[in-house]
């Protein structure tokens, strides 16, 4: 077994991992990035549509272009280990670190003063939403279908139904249409779309693909390959009732949500946040394990890569402070209040400006974001429209936070 000693180990070379690694290397730390694919850039590589980078690079890029920009920023001193999988995190007499498997170098024990978790997320699948029926081939998560089409050059099938109006599902509706498949419809359980509005317009409306809101797939038929699916309006009985219909198709794509990929985190005993499925973090984005930080989709699922990169930069700052022994000023917890599913991070530091990302629970026009310490509103902003699929950002000034130091902040949408 080989041993590698470094300052910071970054796990995952997607947008968040690369961004935090770049920033940390720029600060002069010795950084290693471990990545299980043999390419850098993570999921960006298969997102060949545009719409990335408007905030972070101030121009519209495709996913691979965005990844290339980041890769271009990588300093030479950075040690990259592609095709390498972290088996587990460890904390023993050799300090904090990880065991890493790779075909080229066998098993390497990394010892580092800090770790950045940037493993991203994975897709929810058929089992998670238990669609009844048979188990033929032709049922794919939208991301897998995207990989097959955009990287491998294969089309999953010719007649497609898509479950879930999340962004990947919408993007795939357009992509499948472009390669000559017929997308019959998109089925969404909620009474509102769960993807970005621009994607509904550009990926469904422009292609005349019907969106069935408040509907679910209640059965998959076919023994070898999918032959048809039954679609029903949502009802309390969960059965095929009035309004149900059958669509003949050979492919069912599932875009039914993403889950932060925290197997390593959980096994290491890090405290988890059940609202985000990511680790609990303090104002520096440090988890319950001193020296272990998290950013990007492993922390909570972001809408835009630009936000994930911004968060990764903040994470790098947090790591730097930790390594320099700068303790954050004592602030207090930040909790989600009315109509807020979660807020990240779950703590604030009155020593600097603090940025928070939160996820609304409701669809509403003319709403207001309010952050309160007790009954006193310390921050507020009007939001023309909120919906669960669009994350909300709030930056609280150092001065506002100083005033309420020690108190719990509650974030609500009203």
């Amino acid at each position: 077994m080989k041993i590698r000693r470094i300052d910071v180990l970054v796990i995952g070379a997607g947008a968040s991992g690369l961004t935090s690694a770049i920033k940390l290397a720029e600060m002069g730390y010795e950084v290693s990035v471990v990545e299980r694919e043999n390419t850098l850039g993570g999921i960006l590589n298969q997102c060949i549509h545009s719409g990335f980078g408007l905030h972070y690079f101030n121009e519209e890029l495709t996913g691979p272009e965005f990844a290339d920009r980041l890769i271009g920023l990588l300093p030479d001193a950075l040690y990259l280990a592609p095709n390498a999988t972290v088996d587990r995190l460890i904390d023993d007499e050799n300090g904090l670190g990880a065991l890493v498997f790779s075909p080229e170098s066998g098993i390497t024990r990394y010892s580092s003063r800090a770790i950045v978790l940037a493993m991203g997320c994975r897709e929810r699948n058929r089992g998670n939403i238990h669609i009844p029926g048979s188990r033929p081939s032709g049922v794919y998560t939208a991301g897998l279908a995207q990989r097959l089409v955009n990287i491998e050059g294969y089309i999953p099938g010719k007649d497609v139904v898509i479950v879930g109006s999340g962004d990947i599902g919408l993007i795939m509706a357009r992509r499948m249409s472009w390669v000559g498949a017929k997308v019959h419809c998109v089925v969404e359980i909620q009474p509102y779309p769960s993807g970005l509005t621009r994607n509904i317009v550009q990926c469904l409306n422009d292609f005349n693909i019907p969106l069935h809101l408040s509907h679910v797939v209640t059965k998959i038929n076919g023994n070898d390959r999918v032959q048809s699916v039954e679609i029903s309006p949502v009802s309390r009985e969960k059965e095929r009732g009035p309004g149900s219909f059958t669509v003949e198709c050979d492919t069912l794509l599932l875009s039914v949500g993403l889950v932060p990929e925290n197997e390593l985190t959980r096994k290491f005993g890090i405290a988890m946040n059940h609202e985000t499925s990511g680790p609990k973090v303090d104002s520096r984005l440090m988890t319950s394990k001193p020296g272990v930080f998290a950013c990007g989709n492993v922390l909570h699922v972001h809408d835009l890569v630009d936000y994930a990169c911004e968060e990764a930069e903040r994470c790098a700052k947090g790591v730097d402070e930790f390594l320099r022994g700068v303790a954050p000023e004592t602030g207090g917890p930040v909790v989600s209040g009315a109509n807020v599913r979660y807020v990240v991070p779950g703590a604030y530091n009155p020593g600097s400006d603090n940025r928070f990302y939160l996820r609304p629970m409701i669809v509403k026009n003319k709403s207001r974001l309010s952050v309160r310490a007790g009954e006193v509103e310390i921050y507020g902003k009007n939001l023309p429209h909120v919906q669960p699929s669009e994350m909300v950002e709030a930056t609280l000034s150092k001065d506002a936070l100083k005033a309420c130091s020690g108190q719990t902040l509650e974030v609500r949408i009203e």
């Binding site: 498997f101 058929r126 048979s134 999953p156 550009q202 209640t218 390959r225």
Partner: protein, 489 residues
Amino acid sequence: MQDSFDVAVIGAGVTGAAIARRLSEYKLDVALLEKECDVSFGVSKANSGIIHGGFHHSGSTLKGRLEIRGNRMFDQLENELHFPFRRCGILIAAFSTEEMKQVESLYAQGVANQAIGIELCNSDRMLALEPKLNHDVVGGLHAPSGGIIEPYRFVFALVESALKNGVRLITEFEVDRAGRTGDLYDIYAGDRGIKARYVVNAAGLFADKVSKLFGAEEYTIIPRKGEEYLMDREAAALPSRVIFPVPSRVSKGMLVIPTAEGTTMLGPTAEQTGDKTDVSTSEENFERIFYSARRLIPSVSERDIITSFAGVRPTLPENDFFIAVSERRPHFIQAAGIQSPGLTASPAIADYVKDLLKRDGLVLEEDPHYDPEIEPVQRIRNLDIEAIDRLIERDPGYGEIICRCESVSRAEIIDAVRKGHTTLDGVKFYTRAQMGRCQGGFCTFRILKIISEETGIPIDRITKRGRGSYIVGGRIGDFDVAGAGTGRV
């Protein structure tokens, strides 16, 4: 193909595989015929994997006797064949005095069957054996000789051992015609044919059809469907023993099972269906299974579901095995109606069929080259760090993790493909890749590539499990894109 064999075993499920391996101990030419493209793709792949404890069935039934005998054969089989197996024990939980009465009669039946270590328990004892049990438990039964295995891995190992000892496996051979020339049966699947002196009908759900094709006994296999739910490794409900409710007249009830690979499984239902190929699951049974499982272990949670599936039991109206020399056709052995406890009984069924063949005139001369052992498969998830490091040095493929959920390396996938498992399901059942919580989201395309590299099968010809179960519909450019939308570019 026009080969001649001493014995043709029809059906490469657990029954046929166990029989073929048993016969491979003798100087015999044995063919194992399977209609699917891989073994264990029928009844044997979708069941609960229970090694039963010898108390559910009366010793007056054939299945009861073979269950007891089969149960005792698994330790040696495990030593020889290295499949996942654990004698974790079985508990039956009673929640009323009426149910406790039934438990007492099962206990008496178990004692009469000489089930090893069987024990009648009060509620304290039950909760000590399984603290996760519903605290309303009033008592129950503990059968320490019961256990769990991975059923498909058991079948794969039996077949591998049989092949090593000279059995010939012929897949995608769905018997559709049979005749007899002189002392030999002619057995056909489409334009392919073989000859055999003896035939063993282990065709599972289709044993009735095969029997009829040969002009042997007429009977009807009644399909009885069972739905099951597989839960995450981290599920809080994972018990240490198999937990049964008190059985009903038609089935042993829905269980909470700690699988041999560390996941939790719930089910099965028992439902007569008219269709032998119906392996669909339903919303209604989802609710029944979870209701029933929570009654046994309250911490069972829907949030832990990884996947669901259904299997079909091949039952006969008498509800017993039908294993006999045909009275209507010469040298034709029936091994039909092998439902639960068929998996447990399978090695004993193989012995029993071997004896029937001998009595029917087949000469059994021991093969001095017979080797009961197969090479254990290297699986990195079962090895310590030093051993994995040595393995990677020998073969770098062990260092490339393909399935992250179940820790399966490239070398293990290649091993499965080289052993003939060339479909996605074949690789899944052999290696567990795609079986974890992401259900193939990350590894499917990598496995497709490995299968294609190893076999030369183009990716668009690879299937999930044979026939028309293709994974991809074509290559980019294959479909006509005219009129496909008016999107802004």
